[in-house]
């Protein structure tokens, strides 16, 4: 398996690498270039080009992409129905970009398509990092808060809890984030249960790489 990441920062990529390695129980080969987007919706804008590049110019077979949900609608099981697409759900949007971009690609480098692995952190990656440390932080609590119009926490509060400052330096941010991700690596079940946006990423990772039949 050869894997590439599209993320918003080196800290996000470091977390994703640890979590993906934990799920695979092996060290995947990681494409050397870390692909970056400048937040949402820039990730949607650069994703087609990244998919195209990986498909035609590399032997990468898996692309891992995550986004923060911020205050967008949270993906639900209902969105997984065939033909369903929620125009404001970031999971639905990212999946649609994969579908539309690679729909007409001819097979290349021994595979039909680059495998799609998509996760959405609700409302931000720091919520995943706090999973198991702060019991009140989970996707259901956020979704319920959205429905009631009273959010249980803000993104800034989550970041402050993880980094203990509003302005962490990048090396410090990476160190804090990787420490929490390592805690999950040993046992991903709690993160999978509390955050369906992460469970979806795990399910994508278990799908076979689309091979030429």
């Amino acid at each position: 398996m050869k894997i590439a990441f599209l993320s918003e920062s080196p800290a996000d990529e470091a977390v994703l690498r640890v979590l993906v390695e934990g799920a695979l129980k092996e060290q995947p080969t990681v494409a050397s270039a870390g692909y970056r987007a400048r937040g949402w919706p820039n990730v949607l804008q650069v994703l087609p080009a990244v998919i195209r590049h990986l498909h035609f110019n590399t032997d990468v077979d898996t692309l891992v992409v995550t986004g923060d949900s911020d205050d967008s609608p949270v993906h639900t099981a209902a969105h997984d129905a065939p033909q369903y697409y929620h125009p404001h759900c970031r999971m639905c949007q990212l999946r649609a970009v994969f579908r539309q971009t690679s729909k007409r690609f001819p097979a290349a480098h021994g595979r039909l398509r680059v495998r799609r692995v998509v996760g959405v952190a609700v409302p931000a990656l720091e919520a995943w990092l706090l999973c198991g440390v702060e019991d009140s932080v989970n996707e259901a609590a956020w979704t319920e808060g959205q429905a009631r119009g009273i959010l249980p926490y803000t993104r800034a509060e989550l970041k402050l809890k993880v980094y203990r400052t509003e302005r962490p330096s990048l090396p410090y941010e990476i160190a804090c984030a990787v420490r929490e991700a390592e805690r999950h690596r040993r046992d991903l079940r709690r993160l999978e249960y509390d955050f369906p946006g992460f469970a979806a990423l795990l399910r994508d990772l278990q799908e076979p790489i689309p091979e030429i039949s």
Binding site: S9, R36, R38, G39, P41, N42, D70, D71, R155, A156, K159, T165, E166, R167, P168, S169, L170, P171, Y172
Partner: protein
């Protein structure tokens, strides 16, 4: 240190005021007043060294005036610059309940520094004795680093470690001194080869070194102004630039115990601006309409949260929604 600045008839700043934070990133079109703000601070620093002017003569009819208020513990101090024309201010009047307060403010103002880095000047050899403090164009960079290596090796080592983290192709700094006491700058690229001397380093390396000298200064000034902070630096490295400046303004966030340094930086980079999505209170937009300019704080924009849902801060600025873009004929 400086809580606010108000301008009357100073260049394009006809009637506007600005609240300053510990860290301030100023964006706006060319010629919209970013540099005027820094010049005003330089004028204050220069005049604060001199005897105070006669209050009766400071405010000239129709003349320019720039007034400054200060942060706690100097809330009662107001300094007013009176200007001969819209470029030269030559009188300073101070309103202070307590004379000692102004004396303390003066001490801080005397340390204020402004920088517009010039990579060609920074590459030049510098006399050993010139390294007490980085010059405004960075021209004594080699001498400053040599002095740090001699006198504050811990700061030198910190800077060197950070440089090699930013630019991993280099492994260290060398500052050889010739018999005439002139210091040159070079960067090591491994043990096998000799260092790359300044003549052969790229422009961006000097800008990075300039920022790091400010960030790791063992005796930093109270206020630092830096123009075009993103210049010559790869967009992916701008987070490191932001961190280096935050290190000055928010030392506690970086585990430092020294006093905060107020930073006023200017940029034209939407990519740098993107990094301030969570701190819009640190962004100042200079707005220019015709011959008149004024300042706005991004955080004062009532619909900011809604706008940020639609795109990155840098893209939104580029679009013109926030203002601070060149006027088109």
């Amino acid at each position: 240190m400086i809580a606010s600045v108000a301008f009357r008839n100073f260049k394009a700043l006809r009637n506007t005021s600005l609240r300053l934070s510990p860290f301030n990133l100023v964006i706006g079109a060319n010629g919209s007043g970013k540099t005027s703000l820094i010049q005003a601070l330089q004028q204050l620093r220069a005049l604060a060294k001199l005897p105070l002017g006669d209050p009766a003569t400071v405010t000239r009819a129709g003349g320019s005036e720039i007034s400054f208020a200060f942060d706690a513990p100097h809330l009662g101090v107001i300094a007013r610059l009176g200007c001969v024309d819209d470029a030269v201010c030559d009188l300073l009047r101070v309103e202070s309940v307590n004379r000692a307060d102004w004396e303390e403010v003066k001490v801080g103002l005397a340390t204020m520094r402004s920088y517009v880095f010039d990579h060609a000047a920074m590459a030049a050899p510098a006399p050993r004795e010139s390294g007490a403090r980085l010059a405004g164009d960075g021209s004594n960079l080699a001498a400053v680093l040599a002095r740090w290596q001699r006198e504050t090796p811990a700061a030198f080592d910190q800077l060197q470690a950070e440089l090699t983290r930013w630019l991993p192709e280099f492994t260290g700094i060398v500052v050889p001194e010739d018999a005439g006491g002139v210091v040159r700058l070079g960067l090591k690229i491994g043990d096998a080869e000799g260092p790359v001397m300044a003549d052969n380093l790229s422009q961006g390396v000097f800008y990075v070194l300039g920022i790091l000298v400010l960030s790791f200064d063992p005796a930093p000034p109270a206020v630092v102004c830096i123009e075009e902070i993103d210049r010559g630096i790869h967009p992916r490295m701008l987070r490191a630039v932001r961190d280096a400046l935050y290190r000055l303004s928010y030392p506690a966030a970086m585990g430092e115990t020294r006093a905060p340094v107020q930073v006023i930086a200017t940029t034209h980079s939407p990519y740098l601006l993107d990094l301030f999505r969570e701190h819009p209170e640190e962004i100042v937009i200079t707005q220019k309409h015709g011959h008149e300019a004024h300042f706005e704080r991004l955080a004062d924009r009532a619909d900011l949260a809604e706008l940020l849902r639609e795109g990155s801060l840098g893209d939104i600025w580029f679009s013109g929604i926030l203002g601070g873009v060149p006027e088109e004929s």
